[in-house]
Point group: C3
Chain length 136, copies 3
């Protein structure tokens, strides 16, 4: 059993944005030398998240961001957090701050349409992603 950890930075440009990081995660897996196992993709921020969804058609991400913003409005009477980003924190807990993907033959075992996304909910910011590859 081998454990290899990497991290990388990304810069987001909008307040709400989904950025495809499948390439960076796949590279970390290749570089790890691990053939079979899994990889954890972890976001160390409380106003962002990681999700897996379709990366072929960019309108899918747009519709996910639209839906999240309709479910969790930026301003709402009742919010008590003074920073004005309660919506960002809520979206982070709804989507979740990590995902795991299985590894087979040194490759991510994603479905045909799946990509891994960093979800920015309080940008633009410079963000960090942790990647831990584990296996043999």
């Amino acid at each position: 059993m081998k454990i290899v950890q990497k991290d990388f930075r990304i810069s987001t440009k909008d307040r709400n944005q989904m950025i495809d990081i499948t390439g960076q995660v796949g590279s970390a897996v290749k570089q790890s030398g691990i053939t079979n196992g899994d990889v954890i993709v972890y976001c160390p921020h409380t106003t962002a998240a990681i999700t897996i969804n379709e990366n072929a058609d960019p309108t899918v991400s747009q519709d996910i961001l639209l839906t999240l913003s309709e479910l969790v409005p930026h301003s709402r009477s009742g919010y008590r957090h003074f920073e004005g980003n309660s919506d960002s924190h809520c979206k982070s807990s709804l989507v979740g701050c990590s995902e795991q993907v299985l590894i087979k033959d040194k490759s991510l075992q994603l479905g045909s349409w799946q990509g891994i996304f960093f979800c920015e909910f309080d940008g633009p910011r410079s963000r960090r992603v942790l990647v831990q590859v584990r296996g043999e």
Copy 2:
């Protein structure tokens, strides 16, 4: 440390449906020969998800599906994805495409009322579930 992977197919019958797959996952754990560790249950589809919730009373699943459909309507002005299943993609990211369960004494360490569900959000379809058991 041992890593054993299996996969199985299921056929869904409705557009939105939760199917109890606890039995199939438990069998994969038994067959793996692993005594202690964990199992990742992974859905390689972008309009479906995996969740853990009550499997004793089927009305729980019905109420979860009802709530998700009220939160994320099938049609909405503003959706841009042309396939008409933006709601399915959104539900997938809200619920999440994988779960992990701990293994002790060759058994799933689920709570008394917990079962593992495959969540179909764009059925009916033939779907695949990946199961990776890891441990000793």
Copy 3:
């Protein structure tokens, strides 16, 4: 590869409550003797969840609970589950029953503002949390 499992109990006081369990999880990691790896924090209940979010300002948790209760009302026409806690089950599947955190140098690799929370959605109750530390 070493696998160490612990569990602990918590008592919740409100119907909806987020309790910071970062200290208990960090202690389990220290006691495990594991230097690098990850920890799974698992909730074996179907009306509760685990999330990672800001634990510096308590208004963040309050706003997350407020948002979840507005998204998923306690009573709604259409709920079929007789126990009157369909909302609790829905929130559990939206937030998710487990989280995983990476471990480096015997410590949780959380972001500066991240804490691990047990989310009670049907309290007050006595609850259990499972913690599995894995690594070397």
